[in-house]
C-alpha cells in the first residue's frame, strides 16, 4: 500500500513562494516520513500550527516516523516547538520518531525545547454563570464590610496620630502641613471660585426664569441665599476637592507604596500615618472650610450678578433682601459640615492610597475608587446632616 498525500499550506497570506510546502507526508507500509521545508518561524506561525495540529492523514499508528528536516531554511523557537510537539504526538501514539537531516546549527535549539512544556495546563473548570453572579454579589457585600473596616481603622490610626502629635507637639510636621495647605488650599482657590461662581449664576438664572411665571422672582434671593449657604457651597467644593486633591493624595501615597518608600519610612522608625497621612488630612481640614466659605461667597456674587443683569434687580435690593432671607444659622449649617467632609475625603484618599499594590493598574483602580467613594460619602454625609439639622430645627 502506497499512499502519498501532501499537506499544502493554506492558500496565500502574502508569502513569497506560494507553492512552497512546509510539511509533506509520505507513507510506506508502517513507515511515515514527514518532510519539513522552508521557513519554520514565527511569521508562518498560524499555518505551521494548523499543519502540525491537524490530523495528518496516512495511517493511524505508524511504527517509525522520520521527520526530515533537510529542507528547513530557517528554524526558530516556534518552529522547534512545533516539531517537538509533532514528535511528542507520535511518541505518545507508540511510534518511534527520528529527526533526519537536522542541520547542525539547530541541534541545540531542538534539544532545548525537548524539555519544555512537560506538564500541560489543567483545563479551567467551567463554573456556573448563576453561581458566579451570586459569588460576585457576595464578594461585593464583603467588600463593603471591608471598606467600612478600613475607614474605621484609618479613623482610629488618625486619632492615635493626632493624640501623639498633641502630646509631643515638636514631632508634629508643621512644614508638611503648610506645604499641603498650599497645594490643596491656595492653589485650588481660582478653580473653586470659578466653579461656584458659575453654579451661583445658573441657580439664579433658573430661579428667575421659572419664578417669574408666577411673579415670585423676588424670592430668587431667598432660594440662592439658603441653597448656597446651606448646601451647594460646601457640597460643590467638597466634590471638587475630592476630585482634585483626594485623587492626588491617593496617587502620591500609592506610588510611594509601589516604590517601597512607605516600607522605607517604616524601617526608619516612622509611622507613615504620622508622616504622610496626618499632615495631609489636617491640611484638608483647614483648607476645605476656607474654600467652602470662599465658594459660597463666589456663588452669592454670581447669583447677585445674574439677578442684576438678567433679572433687573439692583445690587442694593439684592443685598437688602439677602439680609432678610438668610440668618447666621444657614451659614453655620453649611460651615459645620465642611470639616467633616474634609475628614472623610482625606481619610478615604489616604487609605485607598495605602492599599495600592505593585502594579500600575492597581494605582489607577485605587485612585478611581478613592474619588468615587469620597464623592459618595460626601453626598451621604450631606444627607445625614440635612436630616440632623432638620430635626434639631436649625
Amino acid at each position: 500500500m502506497t499512499a502519498s498525500k501532501a499537506m499544502d499550506r493554506a492558500s496565500g497570506s502574502g508569502a513569497t513562494r506560494p507553492e512552497e510546502r512546509l510539511l509533506a507526508l509520505d507513507v510506506q507500509d508502517e513507515h511515515l516520513t514527514l518532510t519539513a521545508a522552508g521557513t519554520w518561524a514565527g511569521e508562518r506561525g498560524r499555518e505551521l500550527d494548523q499543519l502540525t495540529s491537524a490530523p495528518l492523514g496516512g495511517i493511524s499508528s505508524p511504527k517509525i516516523v522520520d521527520i526530515d528536516l533537510r529542507g528547513v531554511e530557517r528554524l526558530d523557537m516556534l518552529g522547534a516547538w512545533l516539531l517537538e510537539r509533532l514528535f511528542r504526538r507520535y511518541t505518545v501514539g507508540g511510534s518511534k520518531v527520528r529527526f533526519v537531516g537536522l542541520p547542525e546549527r539547530y541541534r541545540g535549539l531542538l534539544e532545548q525545547v525537548h524539555d519544555v512544556n512537560q506538564q500541560m495546563p489543567s483545563p479551567r473548570s467551567q463554573t456556573h454563570r448563576l453561581l458566579n453572579a451570586f459569588e460576585a454579589f457576595g464578594r461585593m457585600g464583603v467588600g463593603i464590610k471591608d471598606a467600612f473596616l478600613v475607614f474605621v481603622s484609618m479613623l482610629g490610626m488618625l486619632g492615635c496620630a493626632a493624640a501623639r502629635a498633641l502630646r509631643r507637639p515638636k514631632e508634629f510636621r508643621l512644614t508638611s502641613v503648610v506645604h499641603h495647605l498650599y497645594r490643596v488650599g491656595w492653589q485650588a482657590v481660582p478653580i473653586m471660585l470659578l466653579i461656584t461662581f458659575l453654579i451661583g449664576c445658573i441657580i439664579a438664572q433658573q430661579g428667575i426664569f421659572h419664578f417669574r411665571k408666577f411673579g415670585a422672582d423676588a424670592y430668587v434671593v431667598d432660594m440662592v441665599g439658603i441653597l448656597v449657604l446651606r448646601e451647594i457651597g460646601v457640597l460643590i467644593v467638597s466634590i471638587m476637592v475630592a476630585g482634585r486633591s483626594g485623587s492626588a493624595y491617593t496617587a502620591e501615597l500609592g506610588s510611594m507604596k509601589m516604590r517601597e518608600e512607605i516600607d522605607a519610612l517604616r524601617t526608619m522608625g516612622f509611622d507613615p500615618i504620622d508622616v504622610l497621612v496626618l499632615p495631609r488630612v489636617i491640611a484638608l481640614l483647614c483648607a476645605l472650610p476656607v474654600l467652602a466659605f470662599m465658594g459660597s461667597m463666589a456663588a452669592l456674587y454670581g447669583g447677585g450678578l445674574v439677578a442684576w443683569l438678567y433679572g433687573g434687580m439692583s445690587p442694593a435690593i439684592f443685598i437688602a433682601r439677602l439680609k432678610e432671607a438668610i440668618s447666621i444659622t444657614h451659614f453655620e449649617v453649611g460651615m459645620i459640615k465642611a470639616p467633616f467632609m474634609a475628614l472623610a475625603i482625606g481619610m478615604i484618599a489616604c487609605s485607598e492610597g495605602l492599599r495600592v499594590k505593585g502594579s500600575a493598574e492597581s494605582l489607577g483602580l485605587q485612585t478611581t475608587t478613592s474619588v468615587v467613594k469620597s464623592i459618595f460619602v460626601v453626598i451621604v454625609l450631606d444627607g445625614v446632616f440635612a436630616m440632623f439639622f432638620a430635626s434639631i430645627g436649625m
Binding site: G42, R46, M77, L78, W81, G358
Partner: protein, 259 residues
C-alpha cells in the same frame, strides 16, 4: 571563537550624543559582529546606557551614523524601523515588565502583537520561553510585583526573546544578583546565544561576566571607546581607566571561560 570575520550587525560611527551643554558620547565608533557577545564596560554615569539607548533609538543623537542589521534607522520609514525592532530584544536594567500583566502575558505581548498565532500555541510558546530561561510554568501566572530580583531578570529575558530576535541588548543583566545567580545568568546567556545564534550586546559592570561569557569587551571612557578586543587585550591595555578597571584591586584572576 572566530567571529571577527563575520559581518557587523551593529555599526556605529562618529556618534555624538549629549544633553544640554553636556556631551556624553563624543565621536564614538563601535562595531558588533554577528554571533558574538560584546561586553561594554565604562564608569558609572559614563554613558554606557546612553550608548545602548541611542542604538535602539530611545535617545536622539546629534551626529554620526548608527546601523543596526544593515539599516540606518534614520533613513528608513517607520514601517522598516518597526520591522527592525522585531529583530532585537531588550532587557532593561529594572526589567520593565508591564506591571498589570502576568509574566506569561508579558512574554506573549510581543508575539500577540506581531505574529498571528492561536491562543493555545501562544500559551505553549510563552511557557517554553519561560522554562528556557529557568522559570516554571507556574511562575507565568505571577505578576511582576510578586517576583524576586533574579526572577524579574529572567522574565524580562524571556520577554526579550519572545520574537526570536537576532540581537539581544542587555543592560546590566547581572546587577543586583548574588554571584551564584549572576553566574547562572551568565551561563544562561551563553547557552541561549549558542543555541539561538544570538548576537548579544551587554552593558555590564560584572568582571566575572566579562571574563566568562564575553567574546569581546569594549571599554567606554571619556565619551568614546578607548579599547575593544578580547579580555586578554584589555589586561594589556595601557589606557589609565582601563588599567584601573581590569587591573585594580577588585579585578581578580581570570575565571575559566564558558564555552
Amino acid at each position: 571563537m572566530a567571529v571577527t570575520t563575520e559581518p557587523e550587525v551593529i555599526h556605529v560611527r562618529d556618534l555624538v550624543v549629549g544633553f544640554g551643554k553636556q556631551t556624553v558620547l563624543d565621536h564614538l565608533s563601535l562595531d558588533v559582529h554577528r554571533g558574538e557577545i560584546l561586553g561594554l564596560v565604562g564608569a558609572s554615569g559614563g554613558g554606557k546606557s546612553v550608548l545602548l539607548r541611542s542604538i535602539i533609538g530611545l535617545i536622539p543623537k546629534r551626529q554620526g551614523r548608527i546601523e543596526v542589521l544593515g539599516m540606518d534607522l534614520d533613513q528608513t520609514t517607520d514601517q522598516t524601523a518597526r520591522s527592525v525592532g522585531r529583530r532585537w530584544g531588550i532587557l532593561f536594567q529594572l526589567g520593565a515588565l508591564f506591571s498589570s500583566l502576568t509574566v506569561r502575558e508579558n512574554v506573549q505581548f510581543p508575539m500577540r502583537e506581531n505574529l498571528d498565532l492561536s491562543e493555545s500555541l501562544l500559551y505553549e510558546l510563552a511557557t517554553a520561553k519561560l522554562e528556557i530561561v529557568g522559570l516554571s510554568a507556574e511562575d507565568g501566572d505571577k505578576f511582576p510585583a510578586e517576583l524576586s530580583g533574579g526572577m524579574t531578570k529572567r522574565a524580562a529575558l524571556a520577554r526579550s526573546l519572545a520574537l526570536d530576535p537576532e540581537i539581544v541588548f542587555l543592560d546590566e543583566p547581572t546587577s543586583g544578583l548574588d554571584p551564584i545567580a549572576a553566574g547562572e545568568f551568565d551561563r544562561l546567556i551563553r547557552t541561549l546565544q549558542q543555541t539561538l545564534g544570538l548576537t548579544v550586546f551587554m552593558v555590564t559592570h560584572d568582571l566575572d561576566s566579562l571574563h566568562t561569557v564575553c567574546d569581546r569587551v569594549a571599554a567606554l571612557a571619556d565619551g568614546r571607546i578607548v579599547a575593544a578586543g578580547s579580555i586578554e587585550s584589555m589586561l594589556e591595555c595601557e589606557h589609565p581607566w582601563v588599567r584601573a578597571y581590569f587591573r585594580g584591586r577588585r579585578a581578580r584572576m581570570p575565571v575559566p571561560r564558558l564555552n
